[in-house]
Point group: C2
Chain length 325, copies 2
């Protein structure tokens, strides 16, 4: 099998447990609004018991990006570890159903498939409490070098940086994709994730061809309050950066060149997956040979679709939406 | 614990696996539109592999009714068998989160928690393929007599009639609720279910205080094409019948008296659970002492809410909607 793939993404394989709540529920249950918090099994059990009836929708940040790429007709693959349990089968089904190449790894022992309790506020903001199960046990030997060598782009999820073995797996994956002539990209995932791994991310920047971050993440990466300072810094550190600014759209930064595109105005229901789908649209643009501005527009269009409904997996005809963008 | 319960429902405990499809998908995959079909494990695996990415939402006909009652603030209980697996824990969480008393039974061996593949067509019609797992293994000893003795109403799901032991469990439950001074109701669930169990249902009618059916089910029960003939027959056979007529609303039949209420005009997204939530609203009316017409209006209001979104569990403030009805 030597067919090229557009993007292979590596990240946590997660099933989201999504429920609407009032902001009061977040306060009463000590959930920090708008960010991702890692929780242990006891906390997960207590929070789940307190939360309203939910629906289960496959998630995972880089997995959402791969799913979005699949929905747009790109040739995508995903690597993320699940357990051979019911949630693992659901995760595998859903990502494959979008045409994404997915072979696991599927563990036969150890922790259950990872879950994220996603609490959606009336304003559409999501607060995520992740109980990391099987997905965090990814090790370098889980990286299929042959698969990576077929990829034009590698897409890595910063969240996985929370375990040392996953860091090694990332390094291994970057070598493998470059050996095949491909390029490497990373999303730093979350401001608190940057806080935890700032030094490691800085060590990783020279190996990257493309970095994804939102405003808060970029500011945290360079420990500044000034966006202009941070944009100038990232322009020196990576060949291309795609920075999302929520309601103000996105900026693609390539050396001295910048392309700023506006956000689409839509009725926000659930912001879960907005960044993930922006990355999907942006990468879809790049692999189609679009320029940075057009790729950023495709990113904004994909993000706009995902925030109009519950869940971080595309529901509408994403390929059509992207074609119009 | 001697507090009275308004309704205890008994039925299949199911997690729905819901995905939108074009009608062409139903034809290509041999799925009969608009009905519930029982499928075996091989067929379930093949159909699941073919279907698009899905979301998992707790379901089960009588369980949806209990959930609706809980959402309306009624004191409801549910009896339905799950396995001690991930889907079983999801089912238990979701129904308890609505305030419904639920203690299983939770099996520690045997088949997995039951699933239903729900394919939703663009017109909102749902086609259900149920792989009956743990829920069909309900036996008479699973019926908690003390729980039933506390109930004003028992609500039974005809779907469970597909196993002989469940029939015995139903008989057992009817005796238990009547011993406590309560009354018994049944939904015949589906025209094909009536086809399979017509003689048994007729034997059960004299023991019932209330029967729920839609037009197709009622016509099948009396093997007639004429609604008037069937309505006259059911009026003789049970003290009270609540007959739903989809777009034409519902009729409550109590002897010679009839109350016909119109359906609410809403944008139909997914009709799954319409009958279940009608029953919830109707029973909520009865236990509040509403007359038959008011109860039927409450049923139509609850059904109208459920068909405006994906899934058969209430999302909006059902208590508020019902209060207005």
């Amino acid at each position: 099998m030597t067919e090229r793939l557009d993007v292979v993404a590596i990240g946590n394989a997660i099933v989201d447990v999504v429920a609407p709540v009032e902001d009061e529920f977040l306060r009463e249950n000590g959930v920090e609004k708008g960010v991702m918090t890692l929780i242990d099994q006891d906390r997960a059990a207590a929070l789940y018991a307190a939360m309203p009836q939910a629906r289960e929708i496959s998630g995972g940040s880089a997995a959402n990006t791969a799913a979005g790429l699949g929905a747009m007709g790109a040739r995508a693959g995903f690597v993320g570890r699940v357990r051979d349990d019911q949630l693992g089968r659901i995760f595998a089904h859903d990502i494959r159903a979008l045409g994404v190449h997915y072979d696991g790894p599927i563990a036969t022992e150890g922790a259950e498939t990872s879950r994220c309790l996603v609490l959606v506020s009336p304003d559409g903001e999501r607060s995520m409490s992740t109980f990391l199960g099987a997905s965090t046990e990814l090790v370098p030997s889980d990286i299929d070098e042959a698969l990576l060598a077929r990829a034009e782009w590698l897409y890595l999820e910063g969240y996985l940086y929370d375990t040392p073995e996953a860091k090694q797996a990332f390094a291994h994956a970057i070598r493998a994709v470059k050996a095949g002539g491909g390029r490497a990209s990373l999303t730093v995932s979350d401001p608190f994730c940057v806080e935890r791994h700032r030094a490691d991310f800085h060590r990783l920047l020279p190996e990257l061809d493309l970095l994804f971050a939102n405003r808060a993440e970029l500011l945290s990466l360079y420990q500044t309050e000034d966006l202009e300072t941070a944009l100038a810094a990232i322009a020196r550190d990576v060949p291309l950066a795609a920075i999302t600014l929520s309601g103000e759209g996105a900026i693609a930064v390539r050396g001295q060149a910048r392309a700023h595109v506006p956000a689409r105005k839509v009725r926000i229901v659930d912001t879960t997956g907005a960044g993930d789908l922006f990355a999907a649209g942006f990468l879809a643009g790049l692999v189609q040979g679009a320029d940075d501005a057009a790729s950023a527009r495709m990113g904004c269009a994909a993000a706009a679709e995902i925030i109009t409904h519950i869940g971080a997996r595309p529901e509408a005809d994403l390929a059509g939406i992207i074609a119009k963008a």
